[in-house]
């Protein structure tokens, strides 16, 4: 039977129907891709190979294409500096005169602080190494605020690292590949950052919404914040170090407390990526668990009720020492033993009262060797 005699040979499917079917199939595939995306995790594997690959390709292209704009901007700044050199010089002289007074105050305060730390045996945060990067692409829409920086895993950048401009916190790293890293901005709708009000130490969660001024959510306490208060990172949760400048509190038109970001003072073209790890990850966890907790203050009203005395224990049975940790903490001490301690970790100083603490130098920090 020839093809022309085949009754199905004349069968024609309307184009509208086939186009409609293809549309539905493509829509279902897109929805499946959207549902399977896991953007909120910090794990590089979850960041996904397509993203890693595209970031790796886009970073050098964006870098090359933005070069003319960057050079033009530098040229304009140069010309402006040339024409306004005299007034700029006058302003800088006045600022220098003012700063010299502050320098003396700062030196005196630093000496005092060092002495207090030695006396109290205070363990301060270790210095954080950092890497400088240039922003090569950025998204500014209402649904995603992120930027692509031109350094990545080869510079030691890891997901979760905080990113700062010269003025304040910009965001954090959510994806890394060789030669590029993706920065999730504080203004992104998926961004949540633990912060505190510098004046009152009240905690809040900085929540982005795609607009220029993220909200202060979960603000606790009455009169915890006033317009003009400085907002800094609280360090809660250990994802970000404490005290990074974030911005200034303002009351939004919708009545909510919002933050004018410090990083918005100037274009964010160069950033510093803090190669920060959670400090609890770089101390000796096993050593921490061996440290004897301090005895409770005798007669304190906040002491838990004394445990009911068990019947006479047989000889040789170990008894809990006075002031030992509550029973709930016992399992926690056993768990980290399986985790191998960091090679350069050291045991921190026990929290003993100041009278018993040796007035020597502060407990050694667990900063990485070679940190600036």
């Amino acid at each position: 039977m020839s093809l022309r005699d085949n009754p199905l040979g004349e069968l024609r499917v309307p184009l509208t129907w086939t186009a409609g079917i293809v549309f539905i199939v493509v829509l279902i595939a897109s929805v499946a891709i959207l549902l399977s995306d896991r953007r909120e995790t910090f794990d590089t594997d979850q960041y996904g190979n397509p993203r890693t690959l595209s970031d790796k390709v886009m970073a050098p292209v964006g870098d090359a294409l933005s070069t003319p704009g960057r050079l033009t901007g530098q040229g304009v700044e140069g010309v402006r500096g040339y024409f306004f050199a005299v007034s700029e010089n006058r302003r800088l002289r006045a600022e220098l005169k003012n700063m010299q007074q502050w320098r003396d105050v700062a030196i005196a305060l630093r000496d005092t602080n060092e002495r207090y730390r030695q006396i109290l045996g205070l363990k301060t945060d270790p210095p954080i190494p950092m890497a400088t990067a240039r922003i090569v692409t950025e998204s500014r829409g209402p649904f995603a605020h992120s930027r692509l920086a031109n350094i990545g895993s080869e510079a030691g950048v890891r997901p979760g690292n905080p990113v700062m401009s010269e003025n304040g916190l910009v965001g954090r790293i959510v994806g890394v590949t060789n030669g590029a890293s993706r920065v999730l901005l504080l203004t992104d709708a998926a961004s949540r950052t633990p912060v505190m009000i510098d004046r009152t130490n009240a905690r809040a969660i900085l929540t982005g919404d795609g607009g220029p001024n993220p909200q202060l959510g979960y603000l606790r306490g009455t009169n915890a914040v006033r317009a003009g208060d400085r907002i800094v990172t609280s360090g809660d949760g250990g994802v970000l170090p404490r005290g990074l400048p974030v911005g200034i509190a303002v009351r939004g038109l919708d009545g909510r407390w919002r933050v004018v970001l410090a990083s918005d003072k100037a274009p964010v073209d160069y950033v510093r990526i803090l190669l920060f790890q959670d400090f609890t990850q770089i101390v000796d966890r096993a050593g921490l668990d061996k440290v004897e907790p301090p005895p409770p203050t005798p007669g304190a009203s906040t002491l838990p009720p004394p445990p009911i005395e068990a019947p006479a224990a047989p000889a040789g049975t170990p008894t809990a020492p006075t002031g030992a940790a509550p029973p709930a903490r016992a399992p926690a001490g056993a768990a980290p033993a399986a985790t191998p301690p960091a090679s350069n970790a050291r045991t921190p100083a026990p929290k003993t009262p100041p009278a018993k603490a040796p007035p020597t130098k502060a407990a050694p920090s667990a900063a990485r060797e070679g940190a600036p």
Binding site: I33, T137, S139, P142, L148, D209, G210
Partner: protein
């Protein structure tokens, strides 16, 4: 009639080239360039193209191209993968289903329809973001992106004028 006019319209002319133009435009506007200290807006360049493709004629390749553009935008802008693909496919499907209503409309009415399609895409984006991050996006920021995208209708009009009647098989 010349032999070129008698041939069907090659897909790369009405699908391939506009798709590449959209990708290039989106990338250029994603560069960190400031004009007089102000950042460039972020219009959705893909919407005029998706609108025009759906209006010009039903096609099996067009929805695939819309999805590719959407995935590209997700990778470029850092939004969840599939986000813009879905947001673009929804107005594409609505316009595809409304072709008989849209036929013969004036340019102004077509612009209004395009605005409605933009609203649908951004509304879907608003909803998905709200569900994904448990936080409503800033309505003012959405409005600015809507405004920056709506003014791109002349590009869709140009595509429609150029390709609506270009294939002799559909005359």
């Amino acid at each position: 009639m010349s032999s070129a006019a008698a041939r069907g319209l090659a897909p790369w002319r009405w699908l391939g080239l506009p798709m590449l133009a959209v990708m290039a435009g989106a990338f250029l506007f994603a560069l960190p360039i400031r004009v007089f200290g102000v950042s460039l807006p972020e219009p959705v360049f893909a919407l005029p193209v998706a609108f025009a493709w759906a209006y010009i004629r039903p096609s099996m390749l067009a929805p695939i191209c819309v999805m590719i553009i959407g995935l590209y935008q997700d990778l470029l802008w850092g939004s969840p993968l599939g986000f813009w693909a879905v947001c673009l496919l929804l107005p594409y499907g609505v316009v595809l289903g409304s072709r008989s209503i849209l036929a013969g409309q004036s340019r102004l009415m077509m612009w209004v329809w395009y605005g409605a399609a933009t609203l649908l895409a951004l509304g879907a984006g608003y909803l998905f973001t709200m569900l994904n991050s448990q936080n409503a996006p800033d309505a003012v920021a959405v409005f600015w992106q809507f405004l920056a995208t709506v003014v791109l209708y002349p590009f869709a009009d140009r595509l429609i004028e150029r390709f609506e009647d270009a294939d002799v098989r559909f005359r």
